[in-house]
């Protein structure tokens, strides 16, 4: 079943075309929406929430039409904006309870749900303090909590890892994965880092300049783009030569060697080559692809 589907969706602003004939479907689970800044991610979310009328085409969310059933969609969808959106002078509890009521939950239910959901996002005693004193990580958690408080069927998370340090980023990603699996809430999460989404998504959609570049299951993605980064103490050059002789594609990248993974045998070949050449192997790491790599590939494929 499709959680959402767009058909030839187009949005033109006076000076720019934000979405251009976008046709895409999203199933349940965690779906990543990737694109550079200005690719049309936020515009797409606003249209899907029924807040912005499309110029052409159409879209359905939870089988409801975005142009005519916006209010009904918003009853069952949660939204975490990209930008700061929290008033500093109220506590997280008070804000989340209030927003739960705004989603139609009676007051007692709103209190229970707010307490539950703040616990799930990992806010403990600090939830009674004014939000103004929170760290960026805590604010992101409050933003996530308000998107989940009414137990939506689908949440739109716009750049949820923005401004987080590496640890906060990992925790946020783990939380998003849990929302999609344990909580059973479908997630559409945007990012400009594909590597980030690779870790948590079932499906990835790449858009650029409002057009669909690619939409595929994560497995297809990683298969097509998998590389391994090899770091040795000395002798990067001989190792690259040896691997090339064995028929592996190895590209030198400064002190690192990027080797395309053909299958499990690639790892064996790297290990054996390092042993044969008597090299000190420091690191073998699965390549993290960034959005730029996908773009480059798409462009290469197009040429």
């Amino acid at each position: 079943m499709h959680i959402l589907a767009t058909e030839g969706l187009t949005k033109r602003f006076p000076t720019v075309t934000a979405l251009d004939q976008l046709t895409v479907t999203v199933g349940s689970g965690v779906t990543g929406l990737v694109g550079a800044n200005g690719a049309g991610k936020s515009t797409l979310i606003k249209i899907l929430l029924g807040l912005l009328p499309p110029t052409g085409g159409g879209a359905r969310v939870l089988d409801l039409d975005v142009t005519t059933q916006g209010a009904e969609i918003r009853r069952f969808v949660g939204y975490m904006p990209e930008h700061d959106c929290l008033p500093p002078d109220v506590s997280a509890t008070e804000l989340v309870v209030h927003l739960a009521q705004m989603s139609g939950l009676p007051r007692t239910a709103a209190r229970e749900r707010a307490a539950d959901v703040l616990r799930h996002v990992g806010l403990a005693e600090e939830r009674y303090r004014a939000i103004g004193g929170y760290s960026t990580g805590m604010k992101q958690r409050v933003k996530l909590a308000q998107a989940l408080v009414h137990d939506p069927k689908l949440v739109f998370l716009d750049e949820p890892t923005n401004g987080l340090d590496p640890r906060g980023r990992d925790e946020m990603l783990a939380l998003i994965r849990r929302i999609g699996t344990d909580f059973g809430i479908s997630v559409l999460v945007t990012s400009h880092l594909l590597g980030e989404l690779e870790r948590i998504c079932d499906h990835v959609i790449v858009i650029d300049a409002g057009r669909l570049l690619r939409s595929s299951a994560i497995a297809e993605f990683t298969q097509a783009t998998q590389t391994v980064t090899v770091e040795v103490e000395e002798g990067t050059q001989p190792l690259a030569e040896r691997l090339s002789e064995l028929g592996h594609s190895a590209v030198q990248h400064g002190r690192l060697l990027l080797v395309k993974v053909a299958g499990p045998e690639t790892f064996d070949a790297i290990r054996d080559a390092a042993v044969d050449l008597d090299l000190c192997l420091i690191r073998l790491e699965q390549g993290r692809h960034r959005i730029e790599d996908v773009f480059r590939e798409e462009v290469d494929a197009g040429v």
Binding site: M102, P106, A109, Q146
Partner: protein, 285 residues
Amino acid sequence: MSEIYDIGYRHYDGPRLGRGYATRALTVHSLRGVFGLGRTARSKIIPFALGVIMLLPAVVSIAMMALMSRHGMAYSGFATYMQPVVAIFLAAQAPTVVAPDLRFRVLPLYLSRPVTIAEYVAAKVIAMTAALFLLLAVPLTLIYVSELVIDLKGPPQTKEYLGALVMALVLALLLSSFGLAIASLTPRRGLGVASVIALYLLTSAAVPVIYGTLYSAGNESGAAWAWLLNPFWLVDAVQVWLFSTTPNVPDGGYPPGPVPAVLVLVLIGIGLAALAARYRKAAAQ
């Protein structure tokens, strides 16, 4: 974090109430905000201090009734007499109703919920109107209840009291729609306070100048129109027309007829239209 107590995610299958409920919840939330309830102690000081000041004339009136057995201030003159306090309350508290949601960009969190922008604005206007109405109605009611308890000679002034309540509501709506519109144009709270108070001072200061100029030129009927520049006297003029009360201005009084009432309606309309336009723009961002 709390693995031990983690009983997993629970879904909500209780009732989901409609937009009417959400609008009411927002109204109550905003009304509480006006009086600083659920906020820091510091944000309660101004609204409650002004509320207490509004009660002082009521206390004097009650004392006069109890000790001297005569009426103090007329119900119809209360709002006009206390206008600086009401204006300060409006200037100080209108920005707290609208400015934070605009300044801290909280609006998208509301708009991503079923409530529409029109309902959002309506809730804010109702909350501010209710706050101003309470500010005026509580002292009036206190005086009226005391009047009944003390039981002065002659029939109780029920009609005057109810008339004053109706006019308090009209005044509250007029002040709210204008005050909120001005405050919403300036997301910074301090600037909002200054703008509202500046407009009030301007309308108040303009009255004697224009009145004096026209009066000395011998145009007495024209001078009466000057009073309508100030919202409190404008509403008082409506009261005179509707309930035949004594004008709360020296000599001549107000221009007769329904014109002041029409003016009030037009001004409320302008205020609400400005608010709607401001929020339509904010929602599109």
